[in-house]
């Protein structure tokens, strides 16, 4: 790493950072919820806890919500319908985003930049203020973020923080990041001792994050292509319940369903999109009942191919961040990491 543009943020100044961001943004940070964590709104004065493993839902839940109104409509007395796009929202500030979730946002951006830009999503992405946070230990046993290049990823953060104890070392990555940091700290450079501590912790970290794959993720498209007819898909599909949880928790899934909701009078209503996914039965079924991807093996292969082959080929970024959520939440522990490992082999 380079120590240029790395500044000290004493832990007790975190509150000042929240207060500063709150002026322009809706500030969110990780908070315990049940036996997991979720992104919740932070108010000035709220305790800021940056020490969290991971959230169950990926960050896209805030940028492309699970249920989102596309427009509202009103039917006038003449029967004509008028449409209103959703109202503007406060931009988001996200505090303490881990490398895998930063990668997830990068993939989301690549997805929209390569095709139709979904303004509802890209507006949120453009305006969001993002504070990244380095991980020291894997949050989930199933994580393989190091293999997928997410562990060190700092993009698209405005500020990126290493928590080394009493003080956070904060790297400035954008101009608006600098502006905000300048307002909450005197912009003191990290001391030599702090830099040494940081370097040591980064070295030690490599042991905490062992490598799982014996090949570089860039090779995934070729490795998968060669494995298209493998029995591996059947072997995993034998355990799959088609519950779709893997789609739900994935930071790079983007598929949605569209439905209308209207009170009984039919005069007003909304068209909404809700998350759906390729592992849900019926996802690729058309009128007449034909399913273009029948069978769990095909559906499972499709999901893995989309992440490891179609997305890199189409958007220039592998669609798996290595966050470990899908194997962790899968009721039968089907693991994309194990599938990648088996498909990629030892050379």
């Amino acid at each position: 790493m380079t120590e240029r543009d790395v500044y000290r943020l004493p832990r007790e100044r975190l509150g000042a950072l929240v207060a500063r961001l709150e002026r322009d943004y809706r500030v969110l940070g990780p908070a315990p919820r049940g036996d997991t964590y979720a992104w919740e709104e932070l108010r000035p004065g709220d305790p800021v806890s940056l020490d969290y493993p991971t959230t169950m839902l990926p960050l896209r839940a805030l940028l492309a919500p699970q249920r989102e109104v596309l427009f509202t409509f009103r039917r006038g007395d003449d029967g004509e319908v008028a449409f209103d796009p959703p109202a503007d929202e406060r931009p988001l500030a996200l505090l303490g985003v881990h490398g895998c979730d930063l990668t997830g946002l990068r993939v989301l951006r690549a997805f929209h930049d390569s095709g139709t830009r979904d303004r509802l999503v890209t507006n949120r992405l453009d305006r969001a203020f993002i504070v990244g946070l380095a991980c020291w230990v894997p949050c989930l046993g199933e994580a393989f973020c190091r293999d997928m290049g997410s562990l060190d990823n700092e993009i698209p953060a405005d500020l990126y923080a290493w928590d080394i104890g009493d003080v956070l070392l904060v790297k400035v990555l954008t101009n608006r990041g600098r502006d905000v940091l300048t307002e909450v700290t005197p912009m003191e450079a990290a001391t030599a001792e702090e830099v040494v501590t940081l370097r040591r912790r980064l070295r030690v970290r490599l042991e905490a994050f062992p490598q799982h794959l014996k090949f570089a993720p860039e090779r995934l498209p070729i490795a998968l292509e060669a494995a298209e007819g493998d029995l591996l898909w059947d072997a995993n599909a034998d355990r799959c319940l088609s519950c779709g949880r893997c789609n739900l928790v994935c930071p790079t899934c983007t598929c949605f369903d569209v439905t209308d909701a209207s009170p009984l009078d039919g005069r007003t209503g909304v068209r909404v999109r809700t998350w759906t996914g390729c592992q849900v039965t019926g996802f690729s079924r058309v009128a007449g009942g034909h399913d273009f991807r029948p069978g769990r093996a095909q559906q499972l292969r499709y999901r893995i191919f989309r992440k490891g082959k179609y997305m890199p080929e189409r958007y220039g970024m592998v669609g798996c961040t290595g966050c470990g959520r899908c194997p962790h939440h899968c009721p039968t522990r089907i693991s994309i990491r194990e599938i990648f490992r088996q498909v990629g082999g030892t050379a």
């Binding site: 029967g79 209503g269 082959k309």
Partner: protein
């Protein structure tokens, strides 16, 4: 401001003609927000706010088969939305977005023989191909139109078939039904049995196939066996579609988005894809 591309536009229904008990032929005012200049093989998303939205093929293009400023569709009752849409009457409004899908321009087809193949409802998306080729008849050599239906009473666009058949010397129309009672004097058999009657020079022929999913493999197999080039075989593929603009993901076929890269594809473009046909 960039338009929210999910918001539809009201379009007046000019005509609604019941073709069979479950299919209605609509003539509709074309959307005006942006120039509406579709190519054969494209589709629109139609909706009734409060009910839902569905992809429907263009069955006639403005200024070609349909009058300027209008377009046509054939809609089959298949569920909640289409059951309601097919009850709409002239003067009513439907809500439209589009056109969507790939624009395939026609220069490459000029000077060739055309084999136009439709099974069932596939005649709706195929109709603009027929209309375009008849409108510029001098640009093509032989034109064969092959139509299959399950039963005589399910044959669609009968008036069109009659008027195309009437152009005896420059177009050949062959119709076959899978099964029929004795009153039917036409051909009986699956659509591929009609292929034996094609005598166009296959080296120089383009085929266009629109039909139900099961039809493609049979047709492709036969046409390839007859010697057509793989990049001369064109087909429109149907997938579940919820946006039409490459966002919702429902239409993905391996790494392709059918709503954008299709629904019109050549066999050569998709032959390596396990999920294509």
């Amino acid at each position: 401001m960039v338009q929210n591309r999910m918001i539809p536009e009201p379009c007046r229904i000019y005509e609604a003609m019941q073709q069979t008990p479950r299919e209605v032929h609509f003539v509709v005012e074309a959307p005006k927000r942006e120039p509406f200049r579709p190519e054969p093989g494209q589709f629109v998303m139609i909706s009734i706010p409060g009910i839902g939205e569905a992809p429907i093929s263009l069955a006639a293009l403005p200024g070609e088969g349909a009058a300027e400023g209008t377009f046509e569709m054939l809609i089959r009752r298949a569920g909640r939305l289409t059951n309601l849409i097919t009850r709409l009457k002239p003067g009513d409004t439907m809500y439209v977005r589009g056109p969507f899908g790939r624009r395939v321009t026609w220069e490459k087809f000029e000077g060739s023989n055309l084999i136009l193949i439709a099974g069932g409802l596939g005649l709706a998306p195929l109709r603009p191909f027929v209309q375009r080729s008849l409108l510029h008849r001098e640009l093509f050599r032989r034109i064969d139109i092959l139509v299959g239906a399950r039963a005589p009473e399910e044959i669609l666009f009968k008036e069109d078939l009659a008027s195309w058949s009437a152009r005896r010397d420059d177009v050949r129309v062959l119709v076959s039904v899978d099964a029929a009672r004795s009153t039917w004097s036409g051909r009986i058999g699956v659509i591929t049995t009609l292929f034996d009657e094609i005598d166009a020079d296959v080296e120089d022929a383009y085929a266009f196939i629109c039909g139900p999913p099961v039809m493609y493999r049979h047709c492709l197999r036969k046409l390839l066996g007859m010697g057509l080039y793989e990049n001369h075989l064109w087909m429109t593929l149907e997938r579940r579609m919820k946006c039409g603009i490459g966002l919702c993901g429902n239409c993905q076929m391996n790494g392709l988005y059918v709503c954008q890269e299709g629904p019109l594809f050549s066999y050569r473009e998709v032959r390596h894809l396990k999920e294509a046909v």
